[in-house]
């Protein structure tokens, strides 16, 4: 064995070249499937999620076209029910949660000054499982087997007696795929943030975006088991004749709703909390001001994370639960507005004295505050049991949660895309088009969703595929449909902007926005190893306070290695090796996906699937003599 080659033995340029060689991956087909680079996987994840956004958005446009005029016959009830189920399931499970979680896959290691995530192969595995699950759902839809019982799949409608064909089974297994990948990412994020922060990044210096990712990851770990259990019970009822939800045999219809919403409500915060992280990340550089109330914002994240688990019953206010219990959930649902309010106050307090730079990312943050506060306030209204008995399951609620989810998460995401695109792809997006994109999105979104408040109050229930002309809902539905198409046009503009940027030569500087956080230290896009030397930080905005970052040395230059630090103070503890690329995560994901797919048709698939799954796992963990296995 040759002597270890340390970065202290070499000139900095030499270290950089060697690390680049060690961390880069073959540009072959094998390399494409075997990659464990968190940046490649993160980018792939985000792009895949945006493709699902496109599909879910197209489903929404067909629905809006159908509802634009009364008694319309563009699509029938069967297609319409599949469309809204696909729209909801896609947006929640395949777009919003993954895109938020995996923006972190790309950004968290860069923001905390490390070279990779804690479990790079698990990361690769999670992407493939997610891709296969999402693809299965949409292929099923295109062969007329799309789920049609809503994204919430209430029993008995989704149960064995009323859910026809394989539609609800496909939905239930899609949940298994996405939850599997979601949990893998959450575990990765937690360990990465806990143990891989660069020296000096004590817990009071963690970027707010990273805090948001961490709290979200913990919420995912606690909430996702509930929906995995319930979707498994559903598929057992449908496939092997259990009676979990069969009231005639002593099962309980409401059990499904409790389990689903125990997950489903926190899920809203899986989407919203990372979005608040984006908002915080954008406000600081564009207000050229350090964040006011950093600790308050961190505590607000934790408070939201806790409270989010105590308000699922507000989705069930009209199911006839005891009144006193319902009042408790009114109080808890309102309480969650307190941390959200504190976040808004702190952001505005930061902007208050900032020297604002009116670039596209900041515009989207303004749009976020404008729309999200409206959605939050209607959220306070639906938290009230008596008001909810009128607006529950009407278009008022549709308006409410689109203001919260689109206003509260998609607007920050769009801002984030404009903000980080140069880092991801080394090219700037066009500002002029960006501003058009923003205004078109604002007008389209509000025109599409504001009238829905009134429609709901005028008695229009959700999930109806048509309505008689005499109901008087036609005009506002038409306005809403026009708004939806304008909103879609704003995304088309974004796509044009992205394509045009990608066709130009790369040339974005490392830190185009003059931001203070670590992801802007390496080149745009970053080299495969992110940082030649692991930085040492002494403040929350290290690039502002110490432009020449101090660094840690003493790592190997001939193998993949990262610095492990302590949980609270981020003091260096050890060097840990990181695995090289491997095809096994892809193979394992493929085998598990086939097994899950088979289980839609026969429970025996799970038994026989154990054999290939076992073989791939042995292959995955078999020692391969890489240098990284020495240390």
């Amino acid at each position: 064995m040759s002597a270890p080659l340390l970065d202290t033995d070499l000139a900095p340029a030499e270290v950089s070249a060697r690390l680049e060689a060690v961390w880069s991956e073959p540009k072959t087909l094998w390399g494409w499937f075997a990659t464990v680079d968190h940046k490649k996987i993160g980018r792939r994840y985000v792009v895949t999620a945006l493709i699902f956004l496109l599909l879910g958005g197209l489903a929404a446009l067909v629905m809006r076209a159908q509802l634009g005029t009364p008694d319309n016959h563009l699509v029938g009830p069967d297609v319409y029910n599949q469309l809204f189920t696909m729209h909801g399931s896609t947006m929640m499970f395949l777009f919003a949660v993954p895109v938020m979680e995996t923006l972190g896959v790309y950004l968290v290691p860069l923001m905390i000054g490390t070279r990779t995530v804690a479990f790079p192969r698990l990361n690769a595995f999670s992407y493939w499982v997610y891709l296969f699950g999402g693809a299965m759902l949409w292929i099923a839809f295109f062969v007329n087997s799309g789920p049609d019982a809503g994204w919430f799949s209430y029993v008995p409608l989704a149960g064995p007696q009323y859910g026809i064909g394989k539609r609800s089974d496909i939905w239930a297994q899609m949940i298994t795929y996405t939850e599997l990948s979601g949990l893998a990412v959450a575990v990765n994020t937690i360990v990465t943030v806990f143990k891989m922060r660069c020296p000096g990044m004590s817990i009071d210096r963690i970027p707010l975006f990273v805090w948001a990712q961490l709290v979200t990851a913990f919420m995912i770990v606690f909430a996702m088991p509930a929906v995995m259990v319930s979707s498994t019970m559903l598929i057992c009822d449908r496939l092997v004749g259990t009676h979990f939800f069969n009231w005639a045999e002593g099962g309980d219809v409401l059990l499904w709703q409790h389990l689903f919403w125990f997950f489903g409500h926190p899920e809203v915060y899986f989407i919203f909390l990372p979005a608040t992280g984006i908002v915080s990340a954008i406000i600081v550089p564009f207000a050229r001001r350090k964040m006011f109330g950093y600790s308050v914002l961190v505590l607000a994240l934790f408070a939201t994370g806790f409270l989010a688990f105590g308000l699922w019953v507000h989705h069930m206010f009209v199911t006839g639960l005891p009144r006193l219990g319902e009042s408790f959930f009114t109080a808890s649902s309102m309480a969650v507005a307190v941390p959200s309010g504190m976040q808004i106050f702190c952001w505005i307090a930061t902007l208050w004295d900032g020297r604002l730079r009116f670039a596209t990312p900041l515009l989207f943050v303004f749009g976020f505050i404008f729309n999200f506060v409206a959605g939050g306030l209607t959220g306070v209204m639906v938290a009230s049991v008596p008001i909810d008995t009128q607006v529950h399951d009407t278009y008022f609620v549709v308006a409410h949660f689109h203001y919260v989810l689109v206003g509260g998460a998609v607007f920050p995401l769009l801002g984030g895309i404009y903000y980080w695109f140069p880092k991801f792809y080394g090219r700037m997006l066009d500002e002029r088009m960006g501003k058009w994109n923003f205004w078109l999105a604002m007008v389209g979104f509000n025109l599409a969703f504001f009238p829905m408040h009134i429609l709901g109050l005028m008695g229009m229930p959700r999930r109806i595929y048509t309505y008689p002309a005499e109901m008087g809902w036609g005009g506002m539905n038409l306005a809403s449909t026009i708004g939806a198409f304008l909103f879609a046009a704003s995304f088309a503009l974004l796509a044009v902007n992205i394509v045009r940027a990608l066709r130009r030569a790369p040339g974005a500087p490392a830190n185009p926005w003059d931001a203070g956080s670590l992801e802007w230290a390496p080149a745009s896009p970053p080299p495969p190893h992110n940082f030649t030397f692991t930085p040492v930080v002494a403040s929350r905005e290290p690039l502002w306070d110490t432009p020449e970052l101090p660094v840690t040395t003493g790592l190997h230059a001939d193998r993949r290695e990262t610095v492990i630090t302590s949980l609270v103070e981020a003091e260096p503890q050890m060097c840990e090796s990181s695995p090289p690329p491997s095809i096994w995560p892809f193979v394992a994901a493929l085998v598990i996906s086939v097994t899950l797919l088979g289980s839609i048709f026969t429970p025996w698939a799970l038994v026989w699937g154990l054999v290939p799954v076992g073989i791939t796992l042995i292959g995955w963990f078999w020692p391969k003599g890489a240098k990284e296995e020495e240390s």
Binding site: P77, D78, N81, A149, G150, Y154, P156, L157, Y162, W247, A248, D252, V253, R288, K290, F292, G293, V318, G320, R323, E326, S327, M334, A335, V338, G341, M342, I344, F345, I348, A349, L351, W352, D353, R355, L356, F366, I369, V373, L377, V380, M381, A383, S384, V385, P386, I387, T389, Q390, H392, T394, L457, M458, G459, P461, R462, I464, Y465, T466, E470
Partner: protein, 313 residues
């Protein structure tokens, strides 16, 4: 006719709900305007030098944020208390009033007036008649999937859940016809599952009830008599019942006094002879997915059936 709207209350309960809604809306709108005003001030202000607030400014801002947070908590406490007292103002279900069992089915409503005296039990479908000024207790059931009973002019909604019984108290202030429809997604024809509440003066209600309890007299000649024969001897009677005839099917809506109803197929079509003919000719073309099959009938047979059914006043 009053079209369904939560903001057009026609009962004390619905008025309480609308008042609470407007109270919340006014306060929430004010809060939203203040936030947007603060945002606009931040946008228009040129800003201060430096990356961080000086300590005294930081302290002032902390106090303001603290005060705003306290104010948020206070407003939420007021909202919670207002919600709680509004809920408390609703009567608990009273089993001694008029009790009506409503059963949600894909995609229509079965309505049964409960009575200890079996001869006074009355079954109908998709229409509820209630006396004005008196609380009426609805007993909500479902036999297939979950539905939700919602007549917004009179009261908030309540789910009908298989295996459970929920209650809802209705009380109309004045006579009128109030539309409602199923609010919980229940499958293919969720969109076409409407219900009408006819609130009537007590005397008119009582007259209706007595009439509705009486069996229909069967026509003794003409097209209607032929229609009655078809109804009983073709598939119709295997699902539908008509009090006064031999038809006693239980899976579809009871059609006794069908001719007096406002609509066909839970609000899908107005109840006219032409519409009924259209419906009978091909139910799946009118309400795709409905459980009523297409029965092959010649045009004259269909006309006879229409004459019979429309005659069931």
């Amino acid at each position: 006719m009053n079209w369904q709207s939560a903001l057009d209350p026609h009962s004390a309960n619905a008025r309480h709900l609308a008042d609470l809604f407007w109270f919340f809306t006014a306060l929430c709108a004010a809060i939203w305007l203040l936030v947007v005003a603060a945002l606009l001030r931040a946008i228009r202000h040129p800003g201060l030098a430096g990356e961080q607030d000086p300590p005294e400014r930081q302290l002032r801002k902390s106090r303001i944020v603290g005060a705003l947070t306290a104010l948020t908590v206070l407003i939420l406490v007021v909202f919670t208390a207002a919600s709680f007292y509004t809920t408390r103002s609703f009567a608990w279900p009273d089993m001694n009033t008029l009790r009506i069992k409503v059963t949600g089915q894909q995609w229509w409503w079965q309505v049964e007036y409960r009575n200890h005296d079996a001869s006074q039990v009355l079954t109908t479908a998709n229409e509820i008649h209630i006396p004005v000024g008196r609380p009426v207790t609805l007993e909500l059931h479902a036999t297939d999937v979950i539905h939700s009973f919602w007549v917004p002019d009179l009261m908030g909604k309540q789910d009908l859940i298989p295996g459970r019984t929920n209650y809802l108290t209705l009380q109309a202030d004045h006579a009128g016809v109030y539309r409602g429809q199923c609010a919980e997604f229940c499958g293919l024809e969720h969109a076409r599952m409407a219900i009408w509440v006819f609130a009537q003066e007590p005397s008119a209600f009582e007259a209706w009830r007595r009439h509705a309890l009486m069996p229909n007299t069967m026509p003794d000649g003409g097209a209607a008599a032929k229609g009655a024969y078809i109804f009983v001897h073709r598939q119709c009677a295997s699902c539908h019942a008509i009090n006064g005839s031999d038809a006693a099917g239980q899976t579809g809506p009871d059609l006794t006094h069908f001719g007096a109803r406002a609509t066909i197929a839970a609000g899908t079509l107005h109840n006219t002879a032409a519409n009924l003919d259209r419906w009978l000719a091909d139910p799946q073309a009118v309400k795709p997915g409905a459980n009523m099959p297409k029965v092959d009938l010649s045009a004259p047979d269909r006309a006879a059936l229409v004459a019979f059914l429309e005659g069931l006043k």
